[in-house]
Amino acid sequence: MSDTRQQILEILGGHMSAILARSVLSLSISWSKVDPNRLRPGDDNRLLAELEKGCRLYVRDDTLRQTCMEQMQTLLTINGHTLPPPEEPPRLTRVPVLGESDIVDARGIGRLVCNKLGFSGAMQIKVATAISELARNIVQYADKGEITITTLNGNRRGIEVVARDEGPGIADISLVMSDRYNSRTGMGIGLKGTRNLMDEFDLKSTPGKGTEIRVRKYMD
């Protein structure tokens, strides 16, 4: 990729001496704390504001200065947008589910994460309830396992919950997800209810190996 720093210098150099151009640029970089070669959204305006201060000193003619600023603005816009938008690393919370008391913790943590994300109260409760069902199934049927809660920061903000265990697995998935399923151990509504509460529901299970249930809830 072309060197944005160098390109700015060339534009400035068209209006002032090379030495001045270099000092205007380096001061603008240190004052705005923006690296022209690693532009993030919003950076371009902060850098441009500092560059304009320098240009006001050395390019006295208003029209020329305006041209100079426009050239730099175009450059930063083009180069800034060739970079992918910065993505916050997804934040992940692991909750081991080893016994009955971990069910309360898992759903409490899930609720906290949703609250931090700005989920509505109703959505916080829905996610917490789904986590409670998944964690309880781990304790009841697989003895132990793990719940991971991940913040989704992509173009759709939300939360992903994965419940994983190495228990006996579910032999007939379509049966336990069907309306006619009658559980001997519970209400038989934990998985169906979870599917209803969440936006995405994905169940993978291999008898003898374990179960992985991945659910997502989005903010919008």
Partner: protein, 133 residues
């Protein structure tokens, strides 16, 4: 999260002819089971006509908890005692409905006060008579 000791029990208060239970915490399965046992023994021991379970402080109501509450209501009814659940958060109620759950067989009231009024208004069935209906 509040840590609750392994021996903690949800208190059951007797007020005139009623038992009142106020749940003000996240319910673990152990607490739910203990409560079910405690309510059953208390109904057996003391002479009451109504049971109020106030759930205004509950964090969520999943299928396990709602089943347990329904069972408590059922057990109480078989012993001639009417049950009213009070203070259910509207958001939790909404979640229950979305999951396809309901608290069949137990009446609901907005808060403790209306729960008491509800129980006082309708005379309870005499203990032991026609309770299994």
């Amino acid at each position: 999260m509040t840590e609750i000791s392994d021996t903690f029990r949800i208190p059951i208060i007797k007020l005139h002819d009623k038992l009142i239970v106020s749940i003000q915490m996240a319910l673990s399965d152990r607490l739910v089971m203990q409560l079910k046992d405690d309510i059953t023994t208390r109904i057996e021991r003391v002479n009451i006509t109504g049971l109020i379970i106030d759930v205004s402080g509950i964090d969520v109501m999943d299928s396990y908890i709602s089943r347990a509450l329904r069972d408590m209501g059922l057990i109480a009814r078989l012993m001639g005692v009417r049950t009213v659940i009070s203070g259910l958060d509207p958001m939790i109620a909404m979640t229950l409905v979305e999951m396809g759950l309901d608290l069949k067989g137990v009446s609901a009231a907005l808060n403790l006060e209306t729960a008491i009024e509800l129980l006082d208004r309708k005379p309870a069935k005499t203990r032991g008579k026609g309770a299994a209906a």
